[in-house]
Amino acid sequence: MLKIKNASKIYKLGDVEVPALNDVSLSIEEGEMLCIMGRSGSGKSTLLRILGLIDSPTKGKVYLSGKDVGRLKEKERSKIRLETMGYVFQEYALLSELTALENVYLPAKMLSRWPKEYKDRAVTLLDAVGLLNRMKHLPRQLSGGQQQRVAIARAMVNKPQIIFADEPTANLDSKSGKNVMETLYWLNKNYKTTIVFVSHDEADKKYASRVIRLLDGRITKRKTT
């Protein structure tokens, strides 16, 4: 469903070129739960951002359902992100002025015409991630783990084909981290949502159906669990 072919990414820091990804090819199948592992600076977040159409490769192609989407204009990429993808960031990336419920249904408001429909869906998702009693709370009134679960519910609200999670447990204590990973795993199993997540925690690979490892911008290992 999602594929990148010979993708490279070079960041420019003034006159210095810093390669972050080097000739990476990867195919992601529908319904799988892929874990991207690697040390800090190995290029795993860059790979996730390119897959998630937040960034473009310097070289190479990105295909979504057979269509080359790597070089689309921001407006079209934004539409694809809204309609087919969901994101969970490493930091608690909720909008501080919105309640948990409003954060969840905001992306749906861009797509759906009927408030009742998306509000009901947001409530269902908050219930699914165990935060029904926190839906009127602002992000600052929630713990880190609760905020990440709200972010997962938000990522799910438009029924995406694929969810990207960039080290979703990095800033959480082990109990909250486990809770977040189990929530993602549960979504993958129950909703058949494809999930691609980045982690540096070896304990997280048990949730994945496949693990790839990156080193210096190259895939070094591919393993199906």
């Binding site: 951002r49 937040i54 960034d55 921001e74 407006k75 934004s78 539409k79 992100r81 809204l82 309609e83 993808m85 969901g86 994101y87 960031f89 990336a93 909720l94 909008l95 501080s96 002025e97 919105l98 409003e102 905001l106 992306p107 408001k109 861009m110 797509l111 015409r113 602002l138 938000r154 990522a155 438009n158």
Partner: protein
């Protein structure tokens, strides 16, 4: 598009409702100050212009001056004045004839224009009879009596602009000598001294029409001054008088304004410059507030974009917020200006050499300033919002 607007409206409402009240207060307070400042400056200068023009009309020209077209005098002026008074919207009409003369008392001499007037009708057009500081104004049967402007009499008021050229210490009841052209010399008793606080008219002196006739054996009318109701245009009165007589020509008070016109025209230009400067300050202030706020919200905007909120929706949300601040700010500013600033200024008006200056509010101007501030706010919010949107999502969320 409609969905983008809906999302923008939703985000703007939440941005305002859940932002710090300090930020909201400061943003609105700033607009209030800017709006009151624009209106205050503009109204003060308009008030200044209005005071000067008002003095000109009420002490010097009336709204309209009727003069003969071909002769040196207006024929059958008494009948004409009666006819003019009957015109709808005419408050009063009075005739006059002026002659230059030299006035003296002892060693002090002063040049002045002496106007022969009809005291019975003069007060219908001019306020001078109400502005006596000594003695009283002329009566129609006064003979050998003269009324002097304070700038001629001096009256021991050394603060007067032309005191040094005046008779300096002439008071009501004093006798002065008047040298008319042609070697005619006559002594007059000063019946009263007036101070209009408008030095051009305070340079005048008055005798009665009959007194003039006694001196010169002539009672011809040189001009007729006409006072109109507040909302009656001069052009209407001119058209009506033209229907009565065709041997006349007309000068509006503006055409007779002389140096005052140059003065008020300059004030109008100053008013425009100050208004422009105030709007520029408003634009820069709104821009800075939005810009600083957007820098703090760069990551948040990056997240909104990453989750698929369209750029127009994000920009529009900041536009709507700026619009909200401007509408509320100008609303409060209008109330503060109309119900606080204006009443206080009315109670304690500014005093200038031409009299008291009252703030001259103009609803049309106030609405225009609201419109201008709204446009300024929209542009000032658009620029930083658009710049923030142009940053890549990566830089917005994870950049420095």
């Amino acid at each position: 598009m409609l969905r983008s607007f809906r999302v923008a409206n939703f985000l703007a409402r939440k941005l305002v409702a859940r932002s710090s009240w300090g930020l909201n207060f400061m943003a609105i307070f700033m607009i209030v100050i800017v709006y009151v400042n624009i209106n205050f400056t503009s109204s003060l200068l308009n008030g200044f212009i209005s005071t000067v023009n008002g003095k000109l009309i009420s002490t010097q020209t009336g709204n309209l001056v009727v003069i003969p077209k071909n002769n040196d005098y207006i024929e059958s002026s008494v009948v004409l004045i009666d006819d003019i008074r009957k015109i709808n919207g005419v408050v009063g009409a009075t005739e006059s004839k002026s002659i230059p003369a030299e006035l003296s008392k002892g060693q002090e001499k002063s040049l002045a224009e002496i106007s022969a007037i009809n005291p019975d009708t003069y007060g219908d057009v001019f306020s001078t009879p109400k502005n006596m500081i000594e003695g009283s104004f002329l009566d129609s049967d006064d003979k050998d009596m003269i009324v002097l402007g304070a700038q001629i009499a001096g009256a021991d008021i050394s603060r007067l602009e032309l005191y040094s050229d005046s008779l300096k210490n002439v008071h009501a009841g004093d006798k002065i000598t008047v040298d008319y052209p042609g070697g005619i010399k006559k002594e007059y008793t000063v019946k009263g001294i007036f101070l209009n606080e408008f030095f051009e008219s305070d340079l005048k002196s008055f005798i009665t029409k009959d007194e003039y006739k006694n001196v010169f054996a002539d009672s011809k009318t040189e001009s007729i001054n006409v006072k109109l109701d507040k909302n009656v245009p001069e052009s209407y009165a001119i058209d009506q008088i033209k229907k009565i007589r065709t041997d006349l020509q007309f000068r509006t008070w503006e055409e007779r304004a002389g140096f005052v016109k140059g003065f008020t025209d300059t004030l109008k230009v100053v008013n425009r410059i100050l208004g422009f400067a105030a709007i520029l300050v408003a634009a820069v202030t709104i821009f800075i507030v939005t810009y600083v706020d957007l820098i703090n919200k760069r990551r948040q905007i990056g997240i909104e974009r990453a989750i698929g909120i369209s750029s127009p929706a994000i920009i529009l949300s900041y536009e709507l917020r700026a619009l909200f601040y401007t509408v509320i700010g100008t609303g409060i500013g209008s109330a503060v200006f109309l119900f606080v600033v204006v009443p206080i200024e009315r109670a304690y008006p500014f005093k200038i050499p031409y009299g008291k200056v009252y703030l001259q509010t103009n609803l049309k101007n106030m609405l225009a300033y609201i419109g201008i501030l709204i446009i300024v706010a929209i542009i000032s919010a658009l620029i930083p919002a658009w710049r923030t949107i142009r940053i890549s999502i990566i830089d917005a969320i994870w950049g420095n």
